[in-house]
């Protein structure tokens, strides 16, 4: 079992607290002129996404979490699990709805996603920052409207609903920023 000392704390480090894996967002070292030093850290629970603050005495140790990110190709959904493949080793893995989370509404077959593994098991899945998806349904827009002001809802092939400008039509491909859920532009295949 590996351990980190608070001296090694920095943004991005993965640790285990009370059995859950956490990601250090921010570490602040505070020390009076003479005396006990502390590490004040903000950490994100990688299972729940919750952010909490903790105070450590400097020099304390915490268990290291075997958490790392890897790029994997999304293969298919069998109704319950999402299947991914490592493009280098062709090894396949399944992720449950908890791990896939919001990424589910953006990804389609063959998309390459960032999969976070904890002890070799998918913990979370991040959709690519931008995806190109086809519109399956949207109200017919007004001809000649190019301003994009106002907009209208459009349902995409993955089931996600985004606001699009009035001139965008059913069947067209659009580029979406998955981090905000915003329409970016029309796209060619």
């Amino acid at each position: 079992m590996a351990f980190y000392s608070t001296n090694e704390f920095k943004g991005g480090l993965k640790i285990i607290l009370d059995g859950d894996p956490y990601h250090i967002i921010e570490n602040e070292f505070v020390k009076p002129g003479k005396g006990q030093a502390f590490n004040r850290v903000r950490i994100r629970n990688l299972k729940t996404g919750r952010v909490v603050e903790k105070t450590f005495k400097s020099g304390d140790t915490v268990e290291a979490a075997d958490v790392h990110d890897t790029d994997m190709q999304y293969l298919y959904n069998d109704g319950e699990y999402w299947h991914f493949m490592d493009p280098a080793s062709f090894e396949q893995m399944t992720a449950d709805a908890n791990a896939v989370g919001d990424a589910a509404k953006w990804i389609k077959e063959e998309d390459v996603c960032k999969v976070t593994l904890w002890n070799g098991v998918p913990l979370s899945v991040e959709a690519p920052n931008f995806v190109v998806l086809a519109i399956t349904e949207t109200d017919p827009g007004l001809k000649g409207d190019t301003s994009g002001g106002g907009g209208k809802p459009a349902t995409l092939e993955t089931g996600a609903i985004v606001r699009v400008p009035l001139f965008v039509q059913t069947g067209e491909l659009i580029k979406v920023d998955t981090r905000t859920g915003d329409y970016v532009s029309r796209a060619k295949d």
Partner: protein, 312 residues
């Protein structure tokens, strides 16, 4: 900034000195990690024979030996090293201005320190205030530093919303350090130079302890300077009693043993110098990187370093 400091001391007739950065002795203080070095070697036989040398955590011991030898008032600008200290206000290698005034009481040195800060920052009208450690805790947290129980200190930390305060295992000074750094320090020295003085005797470090008298309980004659929530300087009415210094070294080493920290050889030559007779007086150390941060409005110490340690 360095030119202004040198001009300031030249006007006052304080001598600039240079003492070794490397020493056979280190800092025994359990809260300071002395960095130690040895020559690179391939042969284990010679490795055993290599003499350990410590990088100074402050030039204090060497400068006190000069004082004992009759140097008169002296100052030094030097690099100091502290292992494991890294953050917005900390870097393992930093620049310290340290000076000593034999024959002076600390109140007079505090005035000189405030003068120097205003000159170096070029803010002659910067207001000053002085507050004692006890008064600060009483006014801001309703804590009586000398009487509060560990339970009371923990309750206060919890009430102040310090994460995990309910679970932390700390001794008395640890709780006080936590409350000071988390709740009090950030608001010290806002728009003014704030001097914090009269520390609990348990936090004396190398300061003389003033016995209890009509003014109140015993206090360590130690002071710190704050500006914009940042601790800039730490000073003492210097301890000149060799036997008391020896006892503090022993106490530090016992604490290090209890904490499983490396044992550091205490400076026997300092003890010899104190025994031979060091004039009573005051000394103070000022962190120049932090002073420069404030002068240019930097938020992180890396902004005033040419190459932070990660790229050094």
């Amino acid at each position: 900034m360095l030119a202004r400091i040198r001009a300031f001391f030249a006007d006052l007739g304080v001598l600039e000195v240079e003492t070794p950065i490397l020493s056979h002795a280190g800092a025994t203080d359990p809260a300071l990690a002395s960095l130690c070095l040895a020559e690179p070697t391939d042969s284990p036989a010679s490795a055993a024979a290599v003499d350990r040398l410590y990088l100074q955590t402050s030039p204090e011991f060497h400068m006190k030996r000069l004082l004992a030898a009759g140097s008169g008032p002296i100052y030094q600008i030097s690099k100091v090293f502290r292992g494991g200290e890294r953050g917005r206000l900390h870097h393992p290698e930093f620049t310290m201005l340290e000076w000593y005034r034999p024959g002076w009481e600390s109140a007079r040195l505090i005035d000189e320190l405030l003068d120097l800060a205003r000159v170096v920052l070029d803010r002659p009208g910067l207001p000053v205030e002085q507050v004692s450690y006890g008064d600060l805790f009483r006014a801001a947290l309703s804590i009586d530093v000398w009487a509060a129980s560990l339970t009371r200190l923990r309750q206060c930390a919890v009430a102040q919303g310090i994460p995990d305060a309910a679970d932390l295992e700390l001794d008395r000074d640890g709780w006080l350090d936590l409350l000071l750094t988390q709740c009090l320090q950030p608001s010290l020295g806002r728009g003014r130079l704030t001097v914090l003085c009269d520390y609990p005797p348990s936090q004396a470090a190398l300061a003389r302890v003033r016995p209890a008298d009509h003014r109140g309980p015993a206090v360590a004659e130690r002071f710190e300077l704050y500006l914009e929530g940042i601790e800039l300087a730490n000073g003492f009415q210097e301890l000149t009693d060799a036997a008391e210094q020896d006892a503090r070294f022993a106490r530090d080493l016992a604490e290090r043993q209890r904490l499983g920290q490396p044992m550091i050889p205490p400076d026997q030559r300092l003890l010899a110098a104190l025994a031979a007779g060091m004039p009573s007086g005051s000394g103070v150390a000022l962190g120049l990187d932090r002073l420069l941060m404030i002068a240019i409005g930097a938020r992180h110490i890396d902004e005033v370093l040419a190459f932070p340690i990660e790229r050094a």
